[in-house]
Subunit: 647 residues, 3 copies
Amino acid sequence: MIVGVDYYPEHWDRQLWEADAELMAKTGVKVVRMAEFAWSRLEPREGEFELDWLDEAVELFAKRGIDVILCTPTSCPPLWFYEKYPDSVRTDAEGKRIAIGIRGHRCIASPDLLRYADRIVNVLTEHFAQNKAVKAWQIDNELEADICFCGVCESGFREYVKNKYGTLDAVNAAYGNNVWSGEYSSWEQIKPPSGSYPHAWLNPAYMLDVKRYASHRVARFIRRQADIIRKNCPGAVITTNTWFCEALPDFYEEFSQLDVVSFDNYPPLNIPDDPEELYSHAFHLDLMRGIKRKNFMIMEQLSGGMGCWSPMSRTTAPGMIKGYSLQAFAHGADAVLHFRWRTAVSGAEMHWHGLIDHSNVPGRRFAEFGQLCITAKELEKLRGTAVKSRAALLYSPESEFAFKIQPQTQGMYYLEQLRLLHRALCSYGLNTDIIEYGEPLDGYDIVAAPTLYVRNVKGEAELDKFVRNGGTLILTNRCGVKDEHNNCIMSPLPSGFTELAGIRVSEYDPLGYSAVTVRMNSKEYRCTRWCDSLQTDTAVSLAEYSGGYFKGSCAVSENVIGKGRVYYIGTVGGREFYSDLTGYILEKAHIPNLGLLPDGIEVTEREGEDIRARFIFNNSKNSAEFCLEGKAFALGPFEMRIKITNE
Amino acid sequence: MIVGVDYYPEHWDRQLWEADAELMAKTGVKVVRMAEFAWSRLEPREGEFELDWLDEAVELFAKRGIDVILCTPTSCPPLWFYEKYPDSVRTDAEGKRIAIGIRGHRCIASPDLLRYADRIVNVLTEHFAQNKAVKAWQIDNELEADICFCGVCESGFREYVKNKYGTLDAVNAAYGNNVWSGEYSSWEQIKPPSGSYPHAWLNPAYMLDVKRYASHRVARFIRRQADIIRKNCPGAVITTNTWFCEALPDFYEEFSQLDVVSFDNYPPLNIPDDPEELYSHAFHLDLMRGIKRKNFMIMEQLSGGMGCWSPMSRTTAPGMIKGYSLQAFAHGADAVLHFRWRTAVSGAEMHWHGLIDHSNVPGRRFAEFGQLCITAKELEKLRGTAVKSRAALLYSPESEFAFKIQPQTQGMYYLEQLRLLHRALCSYGLNTDIIEYGEPLDGYDIVAAPTLYVRNVKGEAELDKFVRNGGTLILTNRCGVKDEHNNCIMSPLPSGFTELAGIRVSEYDPLGYSAVTVRMNSKEYRCTRWCDSLQTDTAVSLAEYSGGYFKGSCAVSENVIGKGRVYYIGTVGGREFYSDLTGYILEKAHIPNLGLLPDGIEVTEREGEDIRARFIFNNSKNSAEFCLEGKAFALGPFEMRIKITNE
Amino acid sequence: MIVGVDYYPEHWDRQLWEADAELMAKTGVKVVRMAEFAWSRLEPREGEFELDWLDEAVELFAKRGIDVILCTPTSCPPLWFYEKYPDSVRTDAEGKRIAIGIRGHRCIASPDLLRYADRIVNVLTEHFAQNKAVKAWQIDNELEADICFCGVCESGFREYVKNKYGTLDAVNAAYGNNVWSGEYSSWEQIKPPSGSYPHAWLNPAYMLDVKRYASHRVARFIRRQADIIRKNCPGAVITTNTWFCEALPDFYEEFSQLDVVSFDNYPPLNIPDDPEELYSHAFHLDLMRGIKRKNFMIMEQLSGGMGCWSPMSRTTAPGMIKGYSLQAFAHGADAVLHFRWRTAVSGAEMHWHGLIDHSNVPGRRFAEFGQLCITAKELEKLRGTAVKSRAALLYSPESEFAFKIQPQTQGMYYLEQLRLLHRALCSYGLNTDIIEYGEPLDGYDIVAAPTLYVRNVKGEAELDKFVRNGGTLILTNRCGVKDEHNNCIMSPLPSGFTELAGIRVSEYDPLGYSAVTVRMNSKEYRCTRWCDSLQTDTAVSLAEYSGGYFKGSCAVSENVIGKGRVYYIGTVGGREFYSDLTGYILEKAHIPNLGLLPDGIEVTEREGEDIRARFIFNNSKNSAEFCLEGKAFALGPFEMRIKITNE
């Protein structure tokens, strides 16, 4: 396992560089990321490039055996660029250019930006092409699938729609524009959703294309830089660092042209007391691993309290620095770079704490980082091992988009529906992949597919094949609601899955924060958010509503079809509801598992050709004592126990 | 009673039309509303009208004995119109044109819009003038008294002010513009309240004229279309569908040129548990009936869960579809059209559920609608009956406007003050009219007039006459505060009512969410929001503050004057406070009533020349068992019992 | 003590003037403020001045022995001015001119505004220069240090920065602009922070200069008018009325050119029940007195319930009118003018209640004001006395700015940190000055200096001298964090105070709304917001964390240095925590005090050459019985007891 840090030589006096490199080497740092915001230092005046300082920094690390990841600095063009090309700034929905002077405000479709970005990327990659210390390139920084409303993006969206549909009639038909006299009669009428109205007022079919376009725009920007880097540095690993922002891109499209997924990993600092609110941050890690269905890396890892545009958060509790990094490793990260070596003393992010405080005196957090480096070294033998899973969870970017466009009911979110089932599967110690809806499902025993809201014909076929060949499938409410245009499907829910699930939804009630009770195996559960009243066709009922309008009707069903089984969950329950049901399902399908683990205990495995490691992590703020396969464990908060077996 | 539906032939494949019409006829649908959003299908290209499809749809219904209401489609001009006349779009307070692509964004004062609206209305009404199936016309859709800030509306407002006052001196005097050096020195300085400041910063006198103008602007738009329709279709009933939006128009002005009031009726889906929060939705129905003081109709009636720009609400509980429609009938609706026949599968409103779900499989809600149709048929003999009331509640649109302009205290709203007394009167089984302040009051025994905030000289005279002739009047705090310009009256409160009420307000305390106790007839009540300390002149005290600054001073007074009695309520109490006081008042005035009804039980009556019907409605989510005039009743949630007597 | 009122002759019929003046004289009013919003009446048309009416009003008061304070009316230019100079209106962050028609929307840097303001100020002051009744001038009204984004202010800010730093390199270095490639490469790139991003996204060093400039801009505007007044009316007292607005200016700079501080004093109307939420409004009075370290005046004093852009508040409880005014006197106000004589009947502020209600019938509040006037007369002998304090609290305007720019943690505010220690010191009956950080500290025994966040070299030297000479100093967390540019200091916290405090901060945890327990002298306290883990060097620990990550480490320290003592409080506690600690500190330093006073009881003293007065105020909504130096007291809510001793 490789441990690294993010470092900003351009922020510090040169005399500190040597001391920093020395301390890193001594502590066990193996890789350093640099330069993602350094454009103004790399090209201080138009066309004048100054790379000496970066050469010097790279050399400083190289000679201590520390590898380097360099970044294209296109997230923050220098102010001279904006002054010359004021139209290259992102435009907000009101039609105003975003204020310059902060960060990330370039329009990534601006021809001027692209021309200058091409040049700096070319210059950088040509310059460092032969430098052996530079192992990888990060493109830009934390790209989001937000929308720009400038003229270029306006016509970009129009072209996107034109290419997709060909004729206005086809667009009008796809969007159902006859509603409210919204039929386009010229291409010029097609624009991104500017103006002050919230988007939910807008046509959901149109809005889904807007979100697809926004994601597509990011992928296109990435591909353009990747092509340049690949040309100049044929052997280098190319990535970009992604995160869970408000405007999520389609991760699968985003990384389709890149070599490896890297993730900015900021697990929670404030751990809630209510176990219902505890979701493992590993959900994000499993999702990242699933993007390319292989190991990934952490480009930025939590190192202390965070603060910037918002008040400071709490600091990292003892154990978090080491434990959260090892958790990432347990879930398939091969390298973890902590953000950041030292806390900035100037700029807007000076309250986003690094490993070393403003004082420049290494303290408790740094000491814990040192221990992480020692453990990482011990894990070297696990290099090349992988997380192999019998369980998978399906993620549908289009359903995520569509859920945001039309909130289903108060408090119901797409990702939360996935987290509920991820928590349930993991609570039995199952390695769980989160993969794209539509991917082949060979090799899995059980697949959870909550809220497959938007139709995916390929995905439906994969699921059908999976079940008929003996797989166990968990479906939920809000499956099969929308066609590929985000219009409602005119047939009984769950439409494409009615035969597979063996049920039809007679009626639904969006509960929001209200609740109903459900009785399953003589036990009562409090359910909220949603309730489907199910009519069983070939399925049998596993649970019934015991209160509310739908009292007595089926809430959870089980259907045997082909060699497999399909479960349909019509409502949204609490932790116990899902874990009890999952226990039943695993038993029915004879899927080996560790039994229900205690709160917060996470068990994962990586395996290689002749080696296997089990990671037992106490992902909680309390100490835990428990037995696992007959063996007693006592783990402090955020403590990781790793057991390596040679086979 | 006539039951109908709202239908959108333009949304559905033509092959569905015939099946729909057939099912409607079979179920008992008697009237269908169409075309309020169909402009882009009626005039797909400028000046090219396509009415064949609508002819066909009308014919389909006509031949099954189903009447048709057609709409002028001016709420949503086609996009080709906006492309040609970008200035015809509404302008927001920031001076920006509202984004096109949603709905209802035309400026209703735009000369271009008016020209094109005139033409489509002319074409439609001329075309259908001779069609006997078309019984009525709805103008536009859910018009709101919001303000546009375009140049046309800016000068429109200026003209309005100029016509009203004549000279700048008169304007300055009326608005009290000498405060803060706000005196107009040229007409050009007079504009609608654009800019980012909240309106409460602005001069309340000026703001009242802004609201009057906004309401006036709607009425003018309606009149223009009504004139065209009346010219082309002399016998047709003309209406517009109104609702309780944020920017309420003056309903009395809105309907002054129309034949009948129609209302979009969406009673609550989530019934609160706390009885203090339960207000009957019948308040709105009684208000609608009072606009023209005759029966009205429901143009859109709740049919399922709602969702669009907001998350989906809960679905209609069993009983609501039928019960709420019958409630409307009990309160004077003669026709109820459910919105909508089938749920849309595309467009922004696809989560606003109709009677039939997306699946196109009629379910529980449709079955309940079928039962409604059967009951409606049984009620045919009540055609022509009316709601006759001995109790009235006064509604002052100007007080509503003025309360919004200057919030009195936290949590105090004009309409809520009316609802408190409406609930109290109805809880004794009294039919209660809600009528405009200023209307003649002949025939009533008791009139409740809460918060007559803005002076109405005619209204004061009517009340004076009413009381002196023997009527019982209930006044409250915040009566007589403002003159007709919305400036404060320089005399002791309740100013114009001091003699009638026989009291003066020594001082007031805006309690907001704080509370005081009031003792009335040896019982303590918790009062909030407001507290007037009363000095009794000719009145006697019925209740005194038993806590707070005003401890011991009068809170509720009773004054005998002429042949009548006047009550003044200085504070705002809970449900029991008003019902106890109302019980006392009814007894004092010998007004026949049913005694205090149980929670949620509503009793109303309609009567004709030789027929009388009593409607007993359990407007609650719980079953109810109770006695009424010695007879036992057991009603399920939202169940209506109707007793018809021939006399 | 002088009692006065604010009066608006221009709002009332001339026939009321005489009656008003007569009633004022009879009641005991000694001074009247006029004309701060009267520009449109003083210069109704450009260049035409009408001062007769004001002459008449002044004369009316003068002949009854009532002094007059006149105002420059520059807060509200007439509409003819705005019509002629539309660019003189303030521009918001979005680049839009603020809507005209309200108040205070002129840009105070606009050359046109300044030209017209100069002229009206000249005309007014020349005219009244010889009028003996006019004793003082108020400049403008309630100036705030907000920012305008017009071209004039944009270049004004640029010039400010240019003058301060000289070169772009110096600016870039001071702001740390190399972060995120934010380096200025031309002066034109320097602008105020326009655009829609919240300011916290922006560079904190840049933002501190923005706030300094905003404050500077106000001071410059004041100075310009002060120069004119001083030239024309050499003997007149010049002031401006300030208040605690959102955009606080640097009060010390604001009043640097003025003769006396005047304050708009609106103490709380709604008194919370939780004693933890009770802070004395005297905090503001002590701060006002400390601005020029001498007595001040109240230009506007609470007279009734308030309402304008927000719902009406509660009215003044019995005792508040008199009690709050005497409280101001007790804390160093020599004159208190009630806002306002009569409540406005028109304009946006008509719900901001004066002493007399809309009805024009003097009531309870006016009667209480009459009693105040009687007491004020009895206090005449205290004229010339001053508040002398052995305790001081330091206020750092730059720390206030910087805390707003970067919120430290949820719920933590700069001023609240000061209030906690103000409350603690006052609860022992100590007169407490609040003075500027950097002022000499001679004469104080104890100085509390919470959260000296931004470095002030002069202030550090003063504190060092103060302590070494025997003073007692209380420091807290967040001292010494930032340098003078608002960048973090690269040395252990509390940086410049480590030697003085004898501790270093090992690590901190921003708790926000979370809590830890602290044990001090065997007692447990609940602390929140912040927690510093302290390493004692020369200090001893007074309290330790008894829970949380830092369990066992020092939370409060005491250091003996030179002849003095320094306390460092690493966390934020509740009322009892501070009062217990303060009791210990006072005892250790042998500082005479009254012992811990009961809740809400405030004791202050004023003294003159041969006279001394003790003010005992029950600043609470409950009656209080207590002993003070062996004497029993019983005080009603807001009752003041004054004991005068001749010495």
